[in-house]
């Protein structure tokens, strides 16, 4: 995760300079990497769908890294020569959306400085200018006025209107808007509008298969392969309970947490209890059932 919050306006932080320098571990589940690469080359915005903790953010980081490598041939079509790749990578601007996030927060605002005012760009403006990949996490949470910004940026125009300054910024060639959305727990009220939806290609993320998940858990936590396998098995079993006591299946992230605890010497049953059972549910009966499953799998 990039770590930048939304309200960074009071701090001088070069949001557009955040570049993923080390290769994040990402195990492709199908052809999503190729699809994303193609979309990036063709400047098609991407919508990532999937339950929490299934690797959406990691995927974006990975793609930002991968696309930023010199080896990757990104054909710059825009006249403006992008500055970021020269510095060796595509910046990644991540904004976690919340229900109070308004267009102003994304575009920027005036600040008072002495007797005058000063304009400060918001994260989206910076990303547009710098040619970054801008990742709006959980987009449906944001206020509806953000669509005013998203729409012109995501069709053929690729412009960002800055109403308050009376300006329009053309997006740099490397810029790409990526949004994510979890269809699982958003209420019907907070659904994406079709006019927004249909400006993106959608990549759907599910939970990985047992084999892939074992791989991921093993890589991320450096736990023994057998243990990773058992955890992946547990993951699969627990996910069977979705909508039967659990609102959401266990995320790969939680499985990795459990694995990390186990690696650090916590007994497996206990590690699963704190990292999975208690994290997933507050209901005593559900907890008990999950614990029974844990006890069936782990010695």
């Amino acid at each position: 995760m990039s770590g930048e919050g939304v309200r960074t306006v009071y701090r001088e932080y070069m949001i557009e300079e955040y570049i993923v320098r080390e290769e994040p571990f990402y195990l492709p589940l199908s052809d999503e990497v190729e699809v994303f690469e193609a979309a990036y080359a063709q400047k098609i915005p991407v919508l990532l769908k999937g339950p929490t903790g299934c690797g959406k953010t990691r995927f974006v980081e990975y793609m930002a890294y991968k696309l930023g490598r010199p080896l990757t041939t990104v054909k710059p079509r825009s006249k403006q020569s992008p500055s970021a790749p020269e510095r060796g990578g595509i910046p990644l601007v991540t904004v976690a959306c919340h229900e109070d996030l308004s267009a102003t927060d994304l575009v920027g605002r005036y600040l008072l400085e002495g007797d005058s005012t000063k304009w400060v760009d918001g994260p989206l403006t910076r990303a547009v200018k710098a040619g970054a990949i801008c990742y709006l996490d959980e987009i449906v949470e944001a206020r509806k006025d953000t669509t005013v910004l998203i729409h012109p940026l995501t069709d053929h125009r690729r412009i960002l209107p800055m109403e308050k300054r009376g300006q329009i910024i053309e997006a740099s060639g490397n810029f790409l808007l990526v949004i994510s959305y979890n269809p699982g727990y958003q209420s019907a009220l907070k659904d994406l509008k079709h006019s927004t939806r249909q400006r993106f290609i959608a990549i759907e993320f599910g939970y990985p298969t047992r084999e892939a998940e074992k791989e991921i858990v093993e890589r991320e936590s450096e736990v023994a392969p057998e243990m990773a396998w058992e955890l992946a098995k547990l993951g699969e079993k627990v996910r069977n309970l979705k909508e039967h006591g659990l609102e959401e299946g266990v995320s790969t992230r939680l499985l990795i947490y459990a694995a990390k605890l186990i690696r650090d010497g916590i007994p497996p049953r206990r590690a699963c209890q704190v990292a999975i059972v208690w994290a997933l549910s507050d209901d005593a009966e559900v907890q008990r059932s999950l614990e029974e499953v844990v006890a069936t799998i782990f010695e």
């Binding site: 069977n240 059932s289 782990f298």
Partner: protein, 1061 residues
């Protein structure tokens, strides 16, 4: 002459006492009016006789004359006369008593049949003992008589008087006190309990006189602790105790009732049953038991208590002292047994956990049900104790008490579930005839086995074998072995427990030498499925066969093995076993070492398959091996059939497959899994069709047996020819407020929620068209709501733009040297509309009233008791009427709804629409037109069409039900709008159909409850006479009466705006 006699009478009376004379003169006009002169004479004469009967009898005479007018009112003359004579006789004994009698008469006589006046006095005289104390008690009795007779029958009064007399033997003071208490005591005791209550009181006066008064005084309190229906029994039991051993009765009455009071009322009946069981054996033990019952119930539950008592009874019968100690909980035996019971695990308690557990393991929806349910279904399963599955449900025994700790008992359940889940997970029922086995060459294909026309693949497979039973048993053993192996490999955590239970099962297996040979072979297969056998005792000449069998059997214990491999192994084992004569061998048994198994394939060939073992005379009929307890019934063929049937039914579009009834019948006849052996030939056919229809039934309906679901509605719906979505009917129980008792009647009303039936969309569209102008007007009003929701919030730390005023101020402050404020931004704050609204529509019969005063509605049958056919015919009649353009209240209600829906959709608020009607407290029908969470769709339109007047208006439960729905919603503003046409009324909603108060109070309370839960209730009524009851119902709740019914749609919209802004 008349005058003469009157004056002579007066003279005579005057001599006796001037006061009597005065009273006589007062009463005389009335008497003269009512009586003939002769009777009048008699009446006066009686008065004089009374006055003369004893020294102070003139007082009685005075009362006599005083009571006369009222007595004449109630009594016909002959009875009147006897009333007077009874008084006269009484006055000879005691004038005071007589006066009291006459004084009490006017108020008492209305309660008394005239013929029983004599009895009444006789009862009063029981108390009189010729002493002044007794006479004063007697007087008090007469005085209290009207009150007593209000609550008691005369016989009961007599009992009570006997009680008083006994009490008076100790102390008149006590007796008087009791008499005074009577007024409070009797109303507190139910009519049917009074006789027993008095009986016991009488008994107590004999054996525990001192406690009798306490008992009498606290009677209502004692009884109130006990469940209503059990009170009488409680008193009777006390009587029994008193009769046998007087020392315990007091403790029983006071402590016992207190103990019962601590317990759940539902248990009272059962506990008293238990008490009654031990009472004849030992009274002391029974009382100890009762006193300890809260501890017992708390510890082991009521059914556990029953078990515990059974054990205690045996002890008690053997030795009374030991038994009493047992019930005092002072014997180690009792403590041990209790401990054992408390470690018992009941299915009910762990059901949910097990359900989720099995769901997690298999990923399939499975229900955990008690084995009793499966047996009752009549589809081939007969055992109650053995766990099983039929594809979607896991059937488990109702409780486990095999072990000493709860944990162990639970793990027994867990192992059962894991085993059954294993069958599902590792594909026992997914057997496919044409799929290749991995470990064995596929002999199945060579054997042919018919074509694909068989209903299930397993049937096709079993059809290969001449002896299906043997084949099925082999398959069961092999497949169980495979599944257990896979389970233990897959789930390391449960391995230890699993193996422990396998070992226990192994220990219970029969010894091989006692079995006929073929059966012994099968036994070996079963045993090796439980453990890796190292050594087996077996006839020496069979060792080669044994080794082959074990070789084949152990092959399926592998991760690669599939159900098809089990099938192949079954073929091979079948060949082996069918060649072995099923006879008992008494010698030649020797231990065979099995630790070293040859790797060679046993020499078997398919040719042997068709050869049948020689049917020798010494051969025993083959019997299936005893089942392994934790594995229970494994009926793969039936399960596969059920799964298939279910699938067929879920995909209705596909043409009916090869599953002809004949094929089904054949399957059932052949299958070794159904035990119809013990049914006589004649019954066979009928029982097969019985199974068949049950099976089909089972396949059609979902297995769900959630406790709150009821089947009836579903059944009905299926019968109706309308092609509606089978509505899910759910029942809910709600309390009802009884304003007289000032308390809730718990779980009094049953609300049945179902989706409304669907009609066409015409009504909806037509209404919109008809009221196009109104509709757009309302819509505009609602649209205007939206902009009001944005508010500019100023002086913020952070916002859309500068607040110019604030910036200027800041500049000024800065110049002036004051620390300037940072708050210089403004932002449009969206007040998100967060409204959830529910419309509750009354569709009682009265809504069928016409709106315009056209012609009165012809008499239509408005009762269909939920019968859809009658309803349909009624609707039809209604439609015919519709041509006459008679608009009913319900039509207006519906139209308002249509318009409102359009408007609500523009605002985007969450809303739900429900209608209700009731038919007694047990049947409040609650139809969902649109659930709060449901999106508006054509279905909603169609449902509105079918809203039509039904039965009564029991508002309370319906309001409570929507309240609970709203409660589950997360919204800032929650609104409940009740649209009705008149006051609430229903069967039993109040004392009689005319009483309004009860219903109104309950409705009011329901509305208040909603209010307490932060819901804004609002009542809207189209009842022209509504105002008066609405005022009562909604004293501080918003309400409106719509006088002009046509304005309802508009009013509704306005109201909605007002409430939500």
């Amino acid at each position: 002459m008349e005058y003469d006699s009157l004056s002579s009478l007066e003279a005579e009376l005057g001599q006796l006492s001037p006061a009597v004379l005065a009273q006589f003169q007062q009463a005389a006009p009335v008497a003269r009016e009512r009586l003939s002169p002769a009777e009048f004479q008699e009446w006066a004469g009686e008065g004089i006789a009374i006055a003369r009967s004893s020294l102070r009898a003139w007082e009685a005479a005075l009362e006599y004359f005083k009571a006369t007018p009222e007595a004449l009112e109630t009594l016909p003359y002959p009875h009147f006369l006897s009333w007077a004579q009874v008084g006269r006789e009484l006055s000879q004994e005691s004038s005071a008593l007589s006066s009291a009698y006459f004084r009490a008469s006017p108020r008492t006589l209305p309660f008394l049949p005239p013929l029983r006046i004599g009895d009444w006095v006789r009862i009063g005289r029981i108390l009189y003992q010729n002493t002044w104390r007794s006479s004063s008690l007697g007087c008090s009795f007469f005085e209290a008589s009207p009150k007593l007779l209000r609550y008691l029958k005369l016989d009961e009064v007599e009992q009570f008087v006997h009680f008083l007399r006994f009490m008076s033997e100790t102390s008149y003071h006590l007796a008087t006190e009791c008499l005074a208490l009577a007024e409070e005591v009797f109303p507190g005791i139910k009519r049917e309990d009074r006789a027993s209550f008095l009986d016991l009181a009488l008994v107590l006066t004999r054996i525990a006189r001192r406690d009798a008064k306490t008992y009498f005084a606290s009677g209502p309190k004692i009884l109130s602790r006990i469940e209503q229906r059990e009170r009488n029994r409680f008193l009777t039991l006390a009587g029994v105790i008193a009769a046998s051993d007087d020392s315990h009765v007091v403790s029983f009455l006071f402590d016992g009732s207190q103990v019962l009071g601590q317990l759940d009322e539902a248990h009272h009946g059962r506990l008293l049953n238990l008490f009654q069981e031990i009472l004849p054996i030992s009274c002391a033990a029974a009382i100890e038991f009762l006193n300890n019952s809260p501890t017992l119930v708390d510890k082991v539950g009521i059914s556990g208590t029953e078990c515990w008592l059974e054990e205690g009874k045996i002890v008690l019968q053997r030795n009374e002292e030991a038994g009493e100690a047992y019930f005092r909980l002072e014997s180690s035996k009792s403590a041990q047994f209790l401990e054992r019971l408390s470690s018992r695990v009941e299915l009910e308690q762990v059901k949910e956990v097990l359900r989720m557990y099995s769901k997690a393991l298999t990923g399939r929806n499975s229900h955990i049900l008690c084995t009793e349910n499966l047996k009752d279904k009549g589809i081939g399963w007969t055992s109650v104790e053995k766990p099983s599955t039929e594809g979607t449900g896991l059937y488990l025994p109702p409780f486990v008490q095999k072990y000493d700790t709860k944990g162990q008992n639970f793990s027994w359940y867990k192992v059962i579930v894991t085993h059954q889940a294993g069958h599902l997970e590792f594909g026992s029922f997914d057997f496919c005839f044409d799929k290749e086995a991995g470990l064995f060459p596929n002999w199945r294909f060579e054997l042919g086995g018919g074509d694909g026309s068989s209903p299930t693949d397993l049937k096709r497979f079993f059809d290969l074998f001449p002896d299906r039973k043997l084949a099925a048993d082999i398959f069961t053993a092999v497949e169980d072995s495979r599944v257990d192996y896979r389970l233990k490999r897959e789930y390391a955590g449960i391995r230890v427990t699993y193996e422990r239970i396998q070992q226990e099962a192994l220990a219970q297996r029969p010894a091989l030498p006692s079995l006929p040979l073929r059966r012994a072979f099968l036994e070996v297969l079963v045993q090796m499925s439980l453990d890796d056998l190292a050594e087996v005792s077996f006839p020496a000449d069979m060792e080669r066969h044994l080794r082959s069998a074990i070789h084949i059997g152990s092959k399926v214990k592998s991760v690669q093995a599939t159900v098809e491999d089990s099938a192949e192994a079954t073929i091979r084992l079948y060949i082996l076993l069918s060649a072995i004569p099923n006879e008992v061998r008494s010698e030649g048994w020797k231990n065979a070492d099995l630790s070293q198994l040859s790797q060679d394939e046993p020499e078997l060939s398919l040719d042997q398959f068709t050869q049948q073992g020689g049917a020798e005379s010494s051969e025993m009929p083959y019997e299936s091996p005893q089942e392994v307890e934790f594995r229970g019934d494994f009926k793969p063929e039936l399960v596969q059939l059920l799964m298939r049937l279910r699938k067929d039914y879920s995909q209705k579009d596909t043409p009916p497959s090869s599953l002809s009834p004949e094929a089904l019948k054949e399957l059932i006849e052949k299958s070794a899994e159904i035990e119809i052996g013990n049914i006589s030939e004649g019954d066979l056919l009928s029982s097969i069709s019985f199974y068949l229809s049950n099976l089909l039934d089972e396949a059609i309906k979902p297995v769900s047996l959630l406790p709150d679901q009821e089947r009836k509605g579903e059944q009905l719906e299926r019968e109706s020819d309308e092609k509606t979505l089978a509505p899910e009917e759910r029942a809910f129980l709600y309390d009802e407020w009884d304003f007289r008792a000032n308390d809730y009647k718990p779980k009094w009303c049953r609300v049945r929620e179902k989706a409304a039936t669907e009609g066409g969309t015409d009504f909806f569209d037509h209404t919109l068209k008809k009221h196009a102008r109104l509709a757009s007007g309302i819509k505009r009003q609602f649209e205007m709501l939206a902009p009001e929701l944005f508010r500019k919030v100023k002086r913020l730390h952070d916002g859309d733009d500068f607040d110019l005023d604030a910036v200027i101020e800041r500049m000024v402050e800065k110049k002036a040297g004051i620390t300037p404020s940072e708050k210089v931004y403004w932002r449009r704050n969206k007040l998100e509309r967060d409204v959830a609204v529910v419309f509750l529509l009354d569709m009682s019969a009265s809504t069928s009233e016409a709106v315009e005063e056209a012609e009165p509605l012809p008499d239509l049958p408005v009762q269909y008791y939920g019968d859809p056919r009658r309803y349909a015919s009624w609707l039809k009649a209604q439609h015919e009427l519709g041509s006459k353009k008679l608009r009913q209240i319900i039509d207006v209600e519906k139209e308002s709804l249509v318009l409102l829906i359009g408007a609500l959709e523009t605002v985007g608020d969450r809303y739900g629409i429900y209608v209700f009607s009731s038919c007694g407290r047990d049947n409040v029908e609650f139809f969902v037109i649109k659930d709060i969470r449901e999106a508006f769709s054509e279905v909603v339109k169609r449902r509105i069409d079918r809203v039509a007047p039904l039965h009564g208006t029991r508002m309370g439960p319906a309001i409570r039900h929507v309240t609970s729905k709203l409660e589950a919603e997360e919204a800032r503003t929650k609104i409940l709008i009740l649209i009705s046409d008149g006051r609430p009324q229903d069967q039993g909603y109040g004392k009689d159909s005319m009483e309004k108060d009860y219903a109104i109070h309950d409705t009011k309370m329901a509305l208040l409850e909603a209010k307490r839960k932060d819901i804004i209730p609002f009542c809207l009524t189209v009842d022209q006479a509504g105002q008066d009851y609405l005022k009562k119902m909604c004293h501080d709740i918003g309400y409106e009466v719509v006088w002009n019914i046509e304005s309802l749609p508009k009013r509704l919209a306005n109201l909605y705006r007002r409430l939500t802004v």
